[in-house]
Structures are given as C-alpha cells and as structure tokens.
C-alpha cells in the first residue's frame, strides 16, 4: 500500500472523490457484532473504505434484498488433492465464495522439495485467489519410506521472506516433537523466532500430547474428530479448524460444541478435497451450509468462515465488511441457503451465479525437474515375484472401506510354482510400492484384501506422503503394464486390463498435478471411474483413493512402503511372509 492509495482511501471515505464501486441497499453482514447493517459500501482500489450512504461511485451495484458478506477463507487445504494447478483450483473455488486459502504444499514438497513449493508460490502469483502458504514441516513424513526430498529447517529459511508465506505447516510428526528431535526443534524454533504461525496435526493425541504440542508453540489443529477433542484443543489455546473434505468429514461432530463463547477460535477447512467434490458440493461454502443445517446461526457460521480464519492466520485486512478491509466479498441472495449471487476479490467481480469470470493466467514456467519426476529403473516381472514356501502365511493388508485405517490379517495365500498368485475369489491381490524419486530400485511387495478388483490392475503416483508409485492388480502382467504407464504419462492415475490402458489421468507436475484445465481433469477422472467399473471394482469406495493411503505408515494398522510391509502398531517393518 503506497501513500497515494492511502490518500485516495481517505478521500473517498470523506466523499471528496468517487469510489470505484458502491454496493447499495444491501444488508451488510457485520461479523464483529454478528448483526445485519442496512448500509451502502464504498470501495476504492480494492479496499472497502466506508459503510454508510450517499457515496458517489464510478460503478453502482444495487443489492436490495441481498446480503453483503465477507468472502470465505479455507483455513487448511492441500491444493494437490484436487489434482489441478493453483490457477485452475482458483477457478473452481472462487465461484463457491472462497477467495483466500491457507495452503500447505506438503504433497508436492515430498516429491520435488523446495522447487515444488516454489512452483506452488509462483503459479499462485497474480491469480484472483489469495493463496497463502504454510511451509511443509515434515518432508519426509516418516523415516520409514523414501520421499523425493528432505527438507531441513535451513532449507525452509529463505521462503519465510515470501510475503504469502505465513508459517510452518502442519507438524504431523508428533514423535519428533515429543522427543525434542533436533531437526524438529530447529524448525519450530525458527518459526517461533520469526513470529510465524505453526499449524498442528494432532490426530488422536491425548491431553498430555496436546500439552506438548501447545508448549511447542503449535497453534492450530484440524484433526479433531469429536467435540470432546475439539474442546481440549480450544482449552489449550489452539484454533480448531473444522474440517469437511472428501474423506474426513468432521463438521457434524465438531459443530456440536461451538457456541457464542468459543466460536472465535473455530474456523473451517477442507484439508483434502477432490475436484469432483469441489465442483459438485463446493468448498468452504459447503462447510458454512452444513454448519447452518446443524443449527449454527448463519452469521456465526459466516464469521467462522471469514473473520475467525483471518484472525487465526494474522490476516488483519481480511474477513470483514468494514473500512480498511480488503474488498473480498460475496453478494448473497439469502442467508439460510448461502446462495451466492456474485463473488468479488479486491473489488473486482470474479464469479457470478456459480460461474467464473475468465481471467488471464500468465503461464507459470514449470521447472523442468517437476515434469520429470518418475525415476525408476526398468522393472521386470521377476521383480514383482513373491516367492512362497509351503505352509507360509502372509501379513495381509485388509482395507476398511472409506477409512484410512486398515486391518492386519494373517492368512494363508495361494501359490503356484513357488510364487504368490493373486486370488480373485479370496480377494487377495498383489500390491507394490516402487520408489520413484531416485531410481533406487526399492520395491515393496505385499498382499491386499478388500480392494475387490476382478481383473486388470491400477496404479498411481499419488501415495501419501512420499508419493511413490503404488499399484495393485489381479496379475503380474497388468501390474507391470500399469507401472510402465506411470513412466509414460509422467505420473498420475491409470487403469489397465489385459495390457491395454482403459483410462489414464496424467499428472505430469510432480506426478501429482495436471497441467491441463480443470474441465479436462474432471473428464478424465470420470473416464477413470468408468474404467474401474470395467474392472468390476466395488462402487462402495474409491479404489484409487484407498490405494493412495495404503503407503502412509502413520495410520494403523498395516501399511506398505517402498521398504516393505509396515506394522504401525509396533512401528516397524515386518516380513510379508511368516511360518504358520
């Protein structure tokens, strides 16, 4: 903000100069008193400068019978989960009233390190969506797998100077905090020293662990799944980010404890939300509507989605319709349904009636290394072989549909010619995780039950958090073919049968993000879903989504990484096979 701008703000507020835009006759949603104000709003150069009446404006909008509402802030989101680039993501969420997001580029950082974070920053420059970033704190997420990068405190340091970097992203490595691991202390200490925010990830933590987190300077959590958990976090001075995403849907449980006394410390996030859900259901607008359905007053719900998130992240000019605040606002047709008529960012209309107003995106130059992220040696059928002796049993990963948890089964398995043979009848499929960042040749082999494919194979490079190649299939030929496709398309999703590609969604940017527009991604994702039908996959759950969490070695009970089968209960790798 320069002095000329400051002067113009005052001149317009003093009615000596015309506003750029005046929104007349609407009901302003006053998040400070949680009331409605019948007044006009004057805006100049992207900033609200006055509420009152008799403003002159170059452009006048009549909002009679409508509501002027601060636009929404997503307090915690991974853009990568949408599989689209930041500019495309903005086109999807802006029509839903989300004009600011706090993004954590944890996924791309695990593949491409600082270059990945830099791509997210660069590609979110000069787009209508305000994209703030929290720097990934846990790359790699665990020592039990090989990611594409290792980020130490000193690696993150220079990025803190970026004006859109607000702090240190979700600290998910609780053991490192609790044991005061030196590298983790470095990261926390540097963030605190710079007076930056630190996000938490307190999944399932008890009260003693919460004390440890809060004592370490961690100020938010988006992993509370019960009202009791949420309250324990609030008590310890943490902001609670109430998450409603594609997989984790915590809002109905958490909203029960939100009241007028504690709501200031509650805000909304989506965390991980896929392109289809974003398009069909919305983003934070969905959280707001759902909160209202759960008997939260609409203005309180709106405050949570705006002012509260802005306060949490120190965004002092966001989250309200008041002089001095950014003109990021919504015109709503009603409060009960939060029907969004139009969306403004910095005083400019960016969406109307659910449709984006097209904007020019300057093509971000993607560092070539990002588009070359699949580094595997040539893999042969024998590399996927699981030799089995008589009477051996296997430690089998059993899927629990629509849950990140798995069961640890110990069962006998089919074998033929001294090797494991997948069995459709018993739903024993082969699963492989192939390190894909540095051609180490690491291959983890395992057996999964409950994926319910009847033919072919599927593979993806979205495999939290290291994003190695994970593939599962009914036979080794298709498995190998699917893995090969990953190399061909630069990473993404593929479904194959009988050595043919049924459908592919290429994600050439770090194997996580498409370089195409969101329409195209959405279409290809639908193709993938049709291909899954051809493989006779269950429609009860999404096999790709399920697969993408089977390599995450922090969620019980049995997982698989590029280093083999991982028993989360004993927190160590175990052999796939054992003697009965």
């Amino acid at each position: 903000m320069n002095k000329v701008k400051l002067k113009r703000r005052i001149d317009v507020a003093a009615k000596r100069e015309e506003a750029d835009l005046v929104i007349k006759n609407g009901h302003i949603i006053d998040v400070f008193n949680q009331e409605l104000i019948k007044a006009d709003v004057a805006i100049v150069e992207g900033t609200i400068v006055a509420i009152g009446d008799n403003f002159l404006g170059k452009e006048i909008i009549d909002a009679e019978n409508k509501f002027i509402c601060p636009s929404f802030i997503d307090g915690h989101v991974h853009i990568e989960s949408s599989m689209i680039s930041p500019p495309e993501f903005s086109k999807v969420v802006l029509p839903h009233g989300v004009t600011t997001i706090i993004a954590d580029p944890h996924e791309i950082a695990n593949v491409s390190g600082i270059k990945g974070i830099q791509y997210m920053l660069d590609s979110s420059d000069n787009i209508p969506l305000n994209v703030y970033m929290m720097l990934p704190s846990c790359v790699p997420a665990t020592p039990f797998e090989n990611a594409g990068a290792v980020l130490l405190a000193e690696d993150l340091d220079s990025l803190y100077n970026h004006p859109r970097v607000l702090g240190l992203g979700e600290v998910m490595d609780y053991p490192s905090v609790a044991t005061t691991n030196q590298s983790m202390m470095d990261k926390l200490h540097r963030a605190i020293g710079r007076n930056k925010k630190i996000d938490g990830h307190a999944a399932g933590l008890n009260n003693e662990a919460l004390n440890i987190y809060a004592a370490a300077g961690i100020k938010t959590d988006h992993e509370a799944v019960t009202g009791i958990e949420a309250k324990e976090r609030l008590k310890r001075g943490m902001y609670v980010i109430i998450r409603q995403g594609s997989v984790a849907k915590d809002l109905p449980n958490l909203i029960e404890i939100v009241n007028e006394k504690n709501c200031r410390r509650c805000l909304f996030g989506t965390d991980d939300k896929h392109i289809d859900d974003l398009l069909l259901e919305g983003s934070i607008d969905h959280n707001v509507r759902l909160a209202i359905k759960h008997n939260i007053d609409p203005i309180m719900a709106i405050s949570m989605a705006s002012l509260n998130a802005a306060e949490c992240y120190g965004l002092t000019t966001k989250g309200a319709i008041a002089p001095g605040y950014d003109a990021d606002l919504l015109i709503l047709n009603n409060l009960a349904e939060i029907e969004i008529e139009s969306v403004y960012v910095g005083g400019k209309q960016v969406a109307k009636n659910g449709r984006m107003i097209e904007f020019d995106v300057q093509n971000t130059i993607v560092d070539s290394s990002l588009k070359d992220s699949i580094h595997i040696p040539s893999i042969h059928k024998q590399d996927l072989n699981i030799p089995v002796k008589k009477h051996q049993v296997a430690n089998i990963i059993e899927i629990i549909p629509n849950s990140l948890l798995t069961n640890h089964l110990v069962e006998e398995i089919n074998h033929e010619g001294g090797s494991f043979k997948p069995c459709i009848e018993r739903d024993h499929l082969k699963i492989v995780v192939i390190e894909r960042h540095r051609s180490t040749g690491n291959i983890g082999l395992g057996i999964v039950k409950g994926l319910k494919l009847k033919r072919g194979a599927i593979a993806t490079t979205i495999a939290h958090d290291s994003h190695n190649i994970i593939a599962a299939g009914t036979n080794d030929d298709d498995l190998l073919f699917a893995v090969d496709q990953m190399k061909n398309i630069g990473g993404g999703l593929v479904a194959v049968d009988n050595n043919k590609v049924l459908a592919a969604l290429p994600l050439p940017i770090s194997g996580l993000i498409s370089d195409e527009n969101y329409h195209s991604v959405y279409r290809k994702l639908n193709d993938i879903n049709h291909a899954l039908q051809k493989l006779d996959a269950s429609s009860e759950f999404n096999p790709f989504l399920t697969l993408s969490f089977l390599a995450l070695p922090v969620i019980p009970h049995l997982k698989i990484t590029d280093l083999g089968i991982f028993d989360v209960t004993s927190f160590k790798h175990i052999p796939l096979l054992g003697q009965n």
Copy 2:
C-alpha cells in the same frame, strides 16, 4: 526464546522433567471456552507448559477453592498521568493484577521528544511489569501552541525496531487525517508498512469521520462515551477500549452494548489515572469489577481484560492460562469480587494480598536534558500585566466542574490603574500560560472564572498536551512566585500564598514525573490537597486537574495556550479583550 528453553518446555509437558512451579487444585479460568477447568498448571522458565494433573514441580502451590486467572492488560494508559516513573508505576498496578500495559508516552514526548520516549523505554526495561509502547503520533498535538518537541515520521522510525514498541499511538489529530496532511500520511503509511498497530482517538467523531479513521488503518478507539458510539466503532472493525480512569469514566455507559457476540473486540483501559485513584481503587481490576457489577459474566469480563487485549495488540503469548502462554497469572479468592490473592509475572510471584514483593530496580540513567526541562526567561510582574481600557469586556474561560469542556463568557472585568485586577467576589482570577521549553518568552494571559481560589496562586507544568507552565491566582505577586517555583523544583505542582510555598510536588523528569518513590509522591500529593484547602479552594473538583486541561486547545469552548486565548469553536486565537 532459545532452543534449550523450547526443549525444556516440551520435557516438562511430557513429565520427563520437573516443572519450576505447579499450581494445584485450582479452577483455571479458560478464556477460550469461557468456562472453568479443574486442573493443575505446570510452569517452566516463565511459561505455562501444561494443564492437567500429576506434574512434578520444584515448587508446589495449592490453589484449592481458588481461581487461576490470566492477569490483566491495560489496553491504553499514559504512565505520566500517575506522575510516577515506570518502575514505581509497576509497583502500584502489579498488586492490582495488571501485569501488562500498552503505554503511550505522549505527554513526555511533547516535552522531551525522542529522549522522553527513550527514557520511558529504558526505565521500563527489566521491571516485572510488561510495558509495551505505542509511539506518540501527534507531537505537538496542535499547531496552536508550542510544545517541547516536534516528532515527524522519520523521527519515530528507528523506535519501531524496539521489541516493546507495538505501533503508532493514539491519532488524535483527526483534521490531519481527514485532510490527508502529508506529515500525518507519512506516519500512518510507515506504521501500516511495518504491519504495526495504529491506535485511534475518535472523540465525538460521527460515522463519516469513523469511516475516514478506519480507512486510514486506525484499529482501536478509547474515546467512545456511549453505547451507540461504541457499536459504530465495532462495526468498522475497531477494537473498543472501554475506559475507566480518573476523569473519563465511560465503562457504565459502554458496557451496556457488550455481549457474547461482540465482546471479543472489547477490552479495558484506564487512559489517565492518578496515583491516588490507582492506590485506592485499582487499575484494570477496577474495570473488571465494575463490569461484573453491570451484569457482565465474570469470566467474560476477565476475558476482556486479558485475551481480548492481547489479541488486539498481537501479543500472542499473553492473555490466557494455556500451554505456550506466558505465566502471567492471578490467583483469585473468588470470582464475584475478583479478590486477588497473588500475582505472578513470568511464573514469579510479584504481589501477594495487595502488597508488592519488592524488586530491585536498576537505576535508569535519566538523560540530563530531561531533568532540565524548565526553560523560561526571567519573568517580571509587568509581563503578567493585562492593560484594560474603559468599557472593555473580556473573553473569559468559565470552568465546568469535573468536565474538560469550558464555557466562553464575555463579561466586564475589574480594573485598577489601567490593568485587570482579579476579583475574588466575581471569581475572576488571572491565568497565565508560559512557554517553558525553549525560553521563547511566549506568555498567554487570560481570565478564568470558576476556579474558586480565595487566596494565593497555583502553578503546574502538567498542562496538556504541550505541558507549558500554567498558573492561576488571585494576585500577580503570588502568580509570579508560583511560576518562579516551577523553575526551582524543575516542574511539578505548587500552591503558594503570600510569597510562601504551602506545598510542592516536584516532578523533575520533564516536569511530569517524579524521581521519588510512589509513597513519597502520594504523600506530597496529599500535602498539595491540604494546601488547596488553605487557599479555600472548592472541594467539589480538583483545581490542578482542571488547570491541566485549560491549555488543551482541542476541547470546546474557550482555552488558553502560550499564544493566547483560543476559541475552539472558530478554531483560532482571539484577543482577550474586546469593546463592549
């Protein structure tokens, strides 16, 4: 905070190490949920690191049946109004539970400029009270008088780097903001650019003027005197500092509009509170008690005095009893009366049962210029002469008891030998303002009605905001003698009669602050009050306090500066005498 401290916090929270202090069995006041929590509190190296149970501690305090409460923050205070130095001030307010203040050294800056501010910073270093500063924005306060300093934006710049400087102090020069005066724009722009807070002073401003203030980036106001005014400020995103001081007592009016929905943006301040009121009535603890008397829930009132103030000023580790927060806390015997048993700052007990635990103050070296602030040429009786012609009338300042406002009277006056002669019967006294910073020889002469002295004269160097010498008396000999005393004692308060000093309170630091302890200042202030009785002064109001606002040329209707009589209505100087 260094890494070793961070590690210890975690080690204590994890119960691997003993806490320095454990407060057991108390009811924690949870300002986030506005509820009570029955739990123990563990503290290490000045920071709360855990709430729960079974902590080991080097020191254990039993708070059975007591309340553990975040200590209080004064959101806006001028230490100078107490006439004592920051270390002495801390001894007075700490037993009242105030452990953090947001101070504006506006008064001393008007006398001694940057050196005055620097003294306040230096002398508040290493004392148990947390003293944060807002940099005076309006020195001089108006162009209609001569102060001791002129502070431009560039003068303030280097002070922003001080860790206890939070922003730009109360912007009271509304006309300069509204007219986008270049110097004011510089100050605002630099504060905004540094992401610093800007305090307002929106006395009597209407909604349009409030828009201008808020558009200019001003984020607080402590001058609302009605509930309606407070609400208009809240609507515009301003924090409302509810003031209860020695003169301005706004809490009863403002508290009416505070509710669970808007209270987060309301906090408490004292602004100007004198040593006697601080000792007898308290500081922010008094605001809290008064709020409770006005039916505010005690926990809500405590939240306003703690968390809300901390949030307003971005003090992210203050204002709550939670891990990661500073161990600035109170143990209360009850909630209804806010009876303070003991006060802790950074985990150390600093007061118990209303008594300070003595602390060593390293003597601040006071810059010699501060102790040499009375610069006047020798003044003779004829300098105070007001020549009067026949039939002339005078523009007389009429005091309204206990108000900062005055009436503008036009009356005939007594004269003798061609000169004005004070008249006890008509209560026409002579009043003089003598520029005391740069020996300009400027003397403003006037006539005051309503001061009700029957003999002698009084003089003081506390005369807002330029703090020139202001004196009033029944005869020129005593007036001259009183003014002379100002030079002798280095500024302060004096009451004289018949060329004898009845009582004097020397304030040698810039003519505003004593270099003695608070007991001594309190005693001498009582001596002054007794002396006023000897002058037959009215007990209805305080003549010194009244005098100290008669030179403030921004409050209607008639005032006097070193440049003469000032008509606030027409906003210009006018002649003392006129033709009938």
